[in-house]
Amino acid sequence: MKVRITVTLKPGVLDPQGKAIEHALASLGFTGVDAARVGKLIDLEVAEGTTDADLEAMCRKLLANTVIENFHIERA
């Protein structure tokens, strides 16, 4: 079974990489980009029967650092 985990920085946490991308877009002439935030996407192939609780534990224990990041679990 495929699972897609999206990890994003919490609102309010400074994202210098996102800022750099925002400025680079502006310098390429793309106006109207108000913000850019960079996250991570992790695709897992897990055994059938893996529970939501298992997936959430994986996120909390390793895949995301919940001090600074939120995560979103999506089953394919």
């Binding site: 946490v13 400074l14 210098p16 990489q17 750099a20 224990k61 390793l62 650092n65 001090v67 600074i68």
Partner: protein, 221 residues
């Protein structure tokens, strides 16, 4: 003093740290590979070195924090054994949860590698007893992810409880409240981004880092 330096794949300051400890204390530390599960019986100091453990995969320090030896390190820290994490070692300590907060990409996006001035904020710890409170010292930094972040409550607690050991006395990486090094609540775990082990001998251009190890020797024997 019985000390140990934990070595992860990708550590690159482990030998500098071992030399500093040996030079100051007269005894070479045990070098312990990350796959070990136990520490020597009598241990007075555990040191986590700088570097790029596991290539900084996922997040700096994230993989190292889950390696087998870290369980033993956490247990020892809970028993009150002094633990110091320098640079990547600091990142590992936050990822382990032994210290609060997280170390993020430097605000300027650039790797910063130079000597910086620090202010000693708390000189009454096992790590800082040879410094004066408020003293300015010069210690090198070399990091890409040294931008300390924690929520306001955590920062207020750190400040109110004297758990900020060192602050940057100049702009370095965007760290909240200029934090360069913090302690756990019990005071036996220190994480700091600057590298005291790199300035312990006049031949290295200074000795401001040496007193950290001298203080440890004095306090923990």
């Amino acid at each position: 003093m019985n000390s140990t330096v934990i070595v992860f794949p990708g550590s690159n300051c482990d030998r500098d740290l071992a030399v500093a400890i040996r030079d100051v204390t007269g005894t070479a530390p045990h070098m312990i590979w990350h796959r070990e599960t136990t520490l020597p019986d009598r241990i007075d100091l555990i040191a986590l070195p700088g570097g790029f453990s596991y290539g900084d995969y996922l997040r700096s320090g994230a993989m190292a924090a889950r390696s087998p030896i870290m369980r033993a390190v956490s247990d020892a820290a809970d028993r009150g054994v002094p633990v110091i994490g320098i640079c990547n070692g600091f990142q590992v300590l936050t990822e382990t949860g032994l210290l609060p907060g997280a170390l993020m990409r430097n605000a300027g996006q650039k790797f910063v590698c130079r000597d910086v001035m620090l202010s000693v904020e708390n000189a009454q710890t096992a790590f800082t007893s040879r410094y004066e409170a408020g003293e300015r010292i010069r210690i090198p930094v070399a990091h890409h992810d040294g931008n300390y972040f924690a929520d306001r409550d955590t920062l207020d607690h750190l400040e109110g409880e004297g758990r900020i050991a060192f602050r940057y006395a100049e702009a370095v990486n965007g760290s909240q409240r200029d934090i360069a090094g913090i302690l756990n609540a019990a005071g036996n775990v220190l994480g700091m981004m600057p590298h005291p082990e790199r300035l312990i001998d006049p031949a290295q251009g200074g000795t401001d880092g040496r007193r950290l190890f001298e203080g440890l020797l004095e306090t923990v024997g």
